[in-house]
Symmetry: C2
Subunit: 424 residues, 2 copies
């Protein structure tokens, strides 16, 4: 997909650090910045990653400032000997150091909560170049810096991802938006429980929709994300176009869409439970607690998540959930009857309105010809009855656990929406 | 920490693709290549990522070939209109196209398994530049290319990660090793339960050790990783030096090191439990199942992980673990006495040899002046008694949960190693 050269200006990204170019740490900053800058209607020319070397950083910064309107650099603003970004950009802009009272006051307040005074090792962060704007960092110790020369702007941000994001959103995004001639609109529709091929087969011809917006799909083992985006004269016009495309897609694939943008499946399940004033309990075998973990990622989940049982052993399935030992002996722990008894048992034991259970063989060992690795049964039970299903996953242990938890949460969502009828 | 310029030559990496610079897909190729090239003893000068633009790719390739001995490019070798890498490098090297019989035979064999003949859309992959070596691709349709000019070498690889890795390992790694004058050695020591500052304070002066190897530390909210690396004449010599440095570090920080290289804390806990033929049970409140989830990431964990209780409600703490309702009323659920009763109760209820419990306020709501968000109590109980501790975490809900689970697993590890004495 080719991006057209934007009138709003060209940006580039520089990432500093030996640890990044030698592959010791994953650089997530450049992806974040690339995405956000594109979203805001600027063209990203390139991303350059270089080590902690004075002359190379200097050369990269100078080159970038010659060719791009916006240069965003991250990394090398800490206080150890390999953090040389500040001294490089001071050389480029002919700066001297000055002590910044606000930075000092912020650091003082920060450290007074912990141990007392600003440690000697951090004192140098109070010193900033005298010919830049300071981007005050409320979530860390290294301030960001903004330089300008011949209408070309350089931003220097710390490399710690949450600090980088905070400063980008607080200082840089507003400035880019102010300078952008087009408005970028985007939304993500998150689906699960359907393959990419089946999804697009349901939608049918895309031509009419693609005239209105760009449509891209990104499949993973947990579902397919659909990205709708457009670059229009006004935000309103873009949003109207995306509304039209979204509504059209929802007609054919609506039941598979669990959320929009950053909405998670566990948040959606929580919202539905709250709306219906219902409580949920979990009985997990092969997922080992992952479903409970995901449910409790949501603040306020104690309102509806009653209790969870990690019943890894047969013994626990019997004693906690009242699973019948005879059925366990005849069908085995990984079977549809046991999944159903677990879901029904966990409702009863926890006094919850809806119960979900999983039992499966996560792998890589423990499989047999009759019951291969990846075989999983999932059941959902409520006052109307019990639904159960059989699934076979073919990934590694960790991905299998993730898929099982995703499917289980999606089945709870569908049950709460009346999309899942009991079976048997 | 700066790497010294290697005699074996300088390398750089170029990644092509609009989807990469606009942040729509994660580029994992450059991390892989950066790490592997460093491991093989070459210095990585920089990583450049650019979009699907002819003149920009051409300029980047030419510049890279001027300054670096080895240039490794990935992406843009497919068959859609935005795959222009082949035409760019043909321009740079003044190539003409020739039909390669071996590529054609390989593609023919590949497609005969699927549908029959080589599809029209893929035919162009049989055409290769006439002045390069072909890197025959057994795992995909796009061949790699190797050009050489003035003893500087350019490799072009497809962007699909498993194809890129396959061709790198088959063709490029052997050539780099042949040209490398030094052998790279590396190991990671993984610590938790101690801050970066306290860690290095315990170690004391590093000068003597730094003469033997590079030492770098990478802190995260779950612990500090220490990377030891060196570039020596032989692999044996490097490993011997790293052994010496590791042994020296272990004398002062040994109890905090839970694993080496990619070893996880849950794997270590599992190994200790297996070695001692002991079983574990978990009682989780604020972590909501995360500890159980982590324990069950390990294949074979059913041998030692007996059962878990996600006791989010007070009711569940009483009925599952036998926590005394009066103590719950007087101290509240988030208190040291309750953590202790939970750990003792879960051992009893599950019949496990060792029990671990957590109760805390994950946030962002639910805190009070007396009991702020992040306040957590963790207890470990076994036949020798019960240990408990108070922790205050100051991250967001998700990171707090992760830290609590990490600390709880580490306390189990320490208890199993006899490093944790009961308190009270």
């Amino acid at each position: 997909m080719g991006f057209s050269k934007s009138k709003s200006g060209q940006a580039e990204i520089i990432v500093i650090g030996d640890e990044v170019i030698s592959g010791f740490i994953v650089d997530t900053n450049s992806k974040y910045l690339g995405q956000r800058i594109s979203e805001l209607g600027m063209r990203v020319l390139c991303i350059t990653k270089i080590g902690d070397d004075f002359s190379e950083i200097k050369e990269s910064v100078e080159k970038a400032l010659q060719r791009s309107d916006w240069v965003i650099l991250t990394g090398g603003l800490g206080v150890t000997h390999d953090d040389i970004t500040k001294s490089v950009v001071m050389k480029v802009f002919g700066s001297n150091l000055r002590r910044d009272a606000k930075v000092e006051a912020m650091l003082q307040e920060n450290f007074s909560k912990r141990s007392g005074n600003i440690p000697e090792s951090v004192q140098s962060q109070c010193e900033v170049p005298d010919n830049c704007h300071v981007l005050y960092n409320e979530v860390g110790t290294a301030p960001g810096l903004r330089f300008e020369k011949n209408r070309h702007v350089l931003f220097c941000l710390p490399g710690v991802p949450h600090e980088m994001k905070h400063l980008f959103e607080q200082y840089i995004a507003p400035e880019l938006i102010k300078n952008s001639t087009k408005a970028f609109s985007q939304r993500i529709l998150r689906t699960t429980g359907i393959s990419e091929a089946d999804l697009w087969a349901r939608v049918g011809s895309l031509t009419r929709l693609q005239n209105k917006a760009n449509i891209a799909s990104l499949p993973s083992h947990l579902g397919v994300r659909i990205r709708l985006s457009c670059l229009e004269e006004t935000k309103d016009k873009g949003e109207t176009l995306l509304d039209e495309v979204e509504q059209s897609l929802m007609k054919t694939i609506g039941p598979y869409v669990y959320g929009k943008n950053n909405e998670t499946l566990e948040a959606k399940v929580g919202q539905l439970l709250k709306d219906k004033s219902m409580t949920l309990a979990t009985a997990e075998s092969c997922t080992g607690g992952l479903i409970g973990h995901r449910l409790t990622q949501i603040s306020g989940s104690s309102k509806y998540f009653k209790e969870g049982f990690i019943v890894y052993s047969n013994e626990a399935k019997v004693s906690r959930l009242g699973v019948d030992q005879k059925i366990l002996d005849s069908h085995g722990a990984v079977s549809e009857p046991i999944a159903r008894l677990m879901a029904e048992g966990v409702c009863r034991a926890a006094g919850a309105d809806i119960g979900v259970s999983v039992t499966g063989i996560a792998g890589p060992t423990g499989g047999s010809e009759e019951k291969p690795v990846g075989l999983t049964f999932i059941a959902v039970s409520d006052v109307f009855g019990t639904w159960s299903g059989k699934y076979i996953y073919t990934h590694d242990r960790i991905k299998n656990k993730e898929r099982v938890a995703q499917t289980a949460l999606n089945l709870v969502r569908m049950r709460l929406l009346g999309l899942l009828e009991e079976k048997k």
